[in-house]
Symmetry: C2
Subunit: 122 residues, 2 copies
DNA sequence: AATCAATTTAGCTTATTAGCTAAACATATT
DNA sequence: AATATGTTTAGCTAATAAGCTAAATTGATT
């Protein structure tokens, strides 16, 4: 269950050009991982990719992309799973589900004229 | 139709503690406007409120809240309508609808294994 | 054990953001 | 016309964020 701070962190993470692009492409499978074909894919979905292969798509230095990915991970937007010396990056669909629900409920209850609690933990 | 820049701006606006609280309360009707009872309510929905009455709920100076509200307005999250010398602030439900759809689609198409275009204008 | 590949950490600079106070502006009321 | 109310603008400071390079770390390969 995401509380208000979690949500703020998620929006902050998505509120940056570079991170939003990374996010978008991870979720849409826009990246290929150069190692996908040579590694067993058990437990790793098709979109799984690694830091270097994402960084290749940007004009920023690798450490910069690494820090952006950390922020997306800390916001629970993606997961990063170490396997050997590479890190598999995957969308965290549970978080997206919860955010989708929040906005969906917000709209629905607004239209019904119900007072909506966007965050009912506070 | 919100493009990628619009979306980034929306997330950036919501990715700040103070603004997220303002947003939440505007959408949930958490503020009362001190002038609601003395002004005709034509064309103004129940949640409509004004800058001063929002600022009263925060420990920040009025100009600070004013600037946050401007940012929410610029991100199309709220509308600000001047009527006499007061400004009526209302949720922009169309924007929320579109964001809700984005996340809803993201989740749905992800689960169906379809490659999802979060932003198909780029 | 030396090297290579993938990633993070440290330390720095520059740009942006969030807060403030004081002053200005706009409209209403007396 | 003077005052009061609601809001924004200007100009400042301090904190945060985004980028960089260089170095460190981890694990795989030779």
């Amino acid at each position: 269950m995401l509380d208000m701070d979690d949500k703020t962190k998620i929006f902050k993470a998505l509120g940056n050009d570079t991170r939003f692009k990374i996010f978008k492409n991870i979720f849409t499978g826009g990246y290929a991982c150069s190692i996908d074909n040579t590694q067993p894919k058990d437990d790793i979905i098709a979109q799984a990719t690694c830091v270097t292969s994402i960084a290749e798509h940007f004009d920023f230095a690798l450490p910069t992309i690494s820090r952006h990915l950390k922020e997306l991970k800390d916001a629970q937007i993606i997961t990063m799973t170490k396997s050997k010396n590479k890190i598999y990056i995957e969308p965290n669909i549970d978080t997206m589900k919860e955010i989708a629900e929040c906005f969906g409920k917000l709209v629905k209850e607004y239209e019904e004229g119900v007072v909506y609690q966007f965050d009912n933990t506070k």
